[in-house]
């Protein structure tokens, strides 16, 4: 009896929620006709029980499927970097090549002692960051392997524009050995390779607190950085004010150096970005004009269809020819 009334009242609730007033009425009428001996007390008990079951099932469902399951704790996730208004990330803006030049200087003088930039050749720097004379002079500072000579020996030659930027370590094992077991990642594609891109790297470089907050667990040989996933990062803070003397006499504050090097690393990851955006602008303009034209042509061609008037002219009854 209870079960039947439960069923009925839940159905009534469900149908009332659906807003189908007629179904509610029908359920009410069928219940009154089905069992005529429902006392008010029983009806109340049934309503309370049905409500309990409904609310309980919703609570159980939410308990099971509702909350988001996080694989990592917030500390393991790392602090999410705030969004900065990078000008070079706007749709129709190029990189600021003066900033790229400063950023390359920061990379060369600071980052390059541990981090490689192995996918960038000197020739890519020509015409974007350096003049070809500067790039040639820079390339010649390093030695590269030659092709095997007649005796099969590999000699050294000075670098040329086609060579790639030299790595600080011969291989990953050497890099790990020199850095307390931590591998400094290659920076060629780092902006693409990290969630948050420019914002993350800028926040990481500038986000080292003076000392770790109370209660934070910092492992041996690690430094605390809230933006790094896990908060323990092997790289110490490197960018201090006045570390680099900019040739264009920009004040070398920590955030200025971080901003410049981040923009440079974004260029290293996406050297085609300027051309891509320029082509994108051309494509957008042409396609929007073509779209507008196609809309106009459609309306022109359909104008007579849309504006015609169809009139039924009934035959006059008197002089029908049939």
């Amino acid at each position: 009896m209870l079960a039947r009334s439960c069923l009925r009242s839940t159905r009534a609730i469900a149908s009332a929620r659906n807003g189908a007033v007629k179904i509610t009425k029908r359920a009410a009428s069928s219940s009154s006709s089905g069992s005529a001996a429902d006392s008010p007390l029983r009806m109340n008990i049934a309503a309370v029980a049905a409500t309990t079951v409904a609310a309980g099932s919703i609570a159980w469902y939410y308990h099971l499927y509702g909350p988001t399951a996080h694989a990592m704790t917030p500390a393991e996730e790392g602090l999410h970097a705030p969004k900065y208004p990078w000008v070079h990330e706007q749709f129709f803006k190029t990189f600021d090549h003066q900033a790229l030049r400063r950023g390359f200087q920061v990379y060369r003088e600071v980052c390059a002692s541990c981090h490689s930039l192995s996918r960038v050749p000197y020739r890519a720097l020509v015409g974007t960051i350096l003049t070809s004379d500067e790039a040639k002079a820079l390339a010649e500072e390093n030695e590269y392997d030659t092709e095997p000579n007649d005796q099969g020996e590999i000699e050294k030659r000075p670098g040329k524009l086609a060579d790639y930027l030299p790595s600080p370590y011969p291989n990953d094992e050497a890099a790990r050995f020199s850095n307390n077991g931590a591998l400094p990642p290659d920076l060629s594609l780092i902006v693409k390779a990290r969630h948050g891109g420019c914002n993350y790297i800028f926040s990481l470089l500038t986000g080292y607190p003076d000392e770790p907050p109370a209660g934070a667990q910092v492992g041996d040989g690690l430094n605390f950085n809230p933006y790094f996933p896990g908060t323990g990062i092997a790289m110490a803070r490197v960018l201090y004010e006045g570390l680099v003397d900019y040739e264009d006499e920009t004040p070398a504050t920590t955030s200025q150096m971080a901003k410049d090097v981040v923009e440079f690393l974004n260029w290293a990851a996406e050297p085609e970005l300027d051309d891509r955006k320029r082509m994108g602008m051309k494509v957008l303009v042409v396609t929007s004009v073509m779209f507008a034209l196609s809309v106009w042509v459609k309306r022109y061609k359909w104008a007579w269809v849309k504006s015609r008037k169809i009139v039924y002219d009934p035959p006059k009854s008197g002089n029908s020819r049939h």
Binding site: Q98, G127, T131, S132, D133, R278, V285
Partner: protein, 67 residues
């Protein structure tokens, strides 16, 4: 007037297929030249001072030697 202009245009260009094809190709070529240079001008104006060609003069030493 318009009919005279359009009929002369028709007789000159679109009457024979090869002239029309030539007109289309030549028109596409000239439009592309014009459009590309115009958009590049707009682009350079929008990015004045940011591109390498704007700051190159500060760093290049021998103008005739540079490419």
């Amino acid at each position: 007037m318009a009919s005279i202009a359009s009929s002369s245009l028709y007789n000159a260009l679109f009457r024979r297929n090869y002239t029309m094809l030539g007109a289309v190709f030549a028109g596409a070529f000239t439009f592309e030249m014009w459009y590309g240079s115009t958009m590049d001008k707009i682009w350079d104006k929008n990015n004045r001072g940011r591109q390498w060609k704007d700051i190159r003069s500060k760093y290049v030493e021998d103008a005739e030697e540079e490419e």
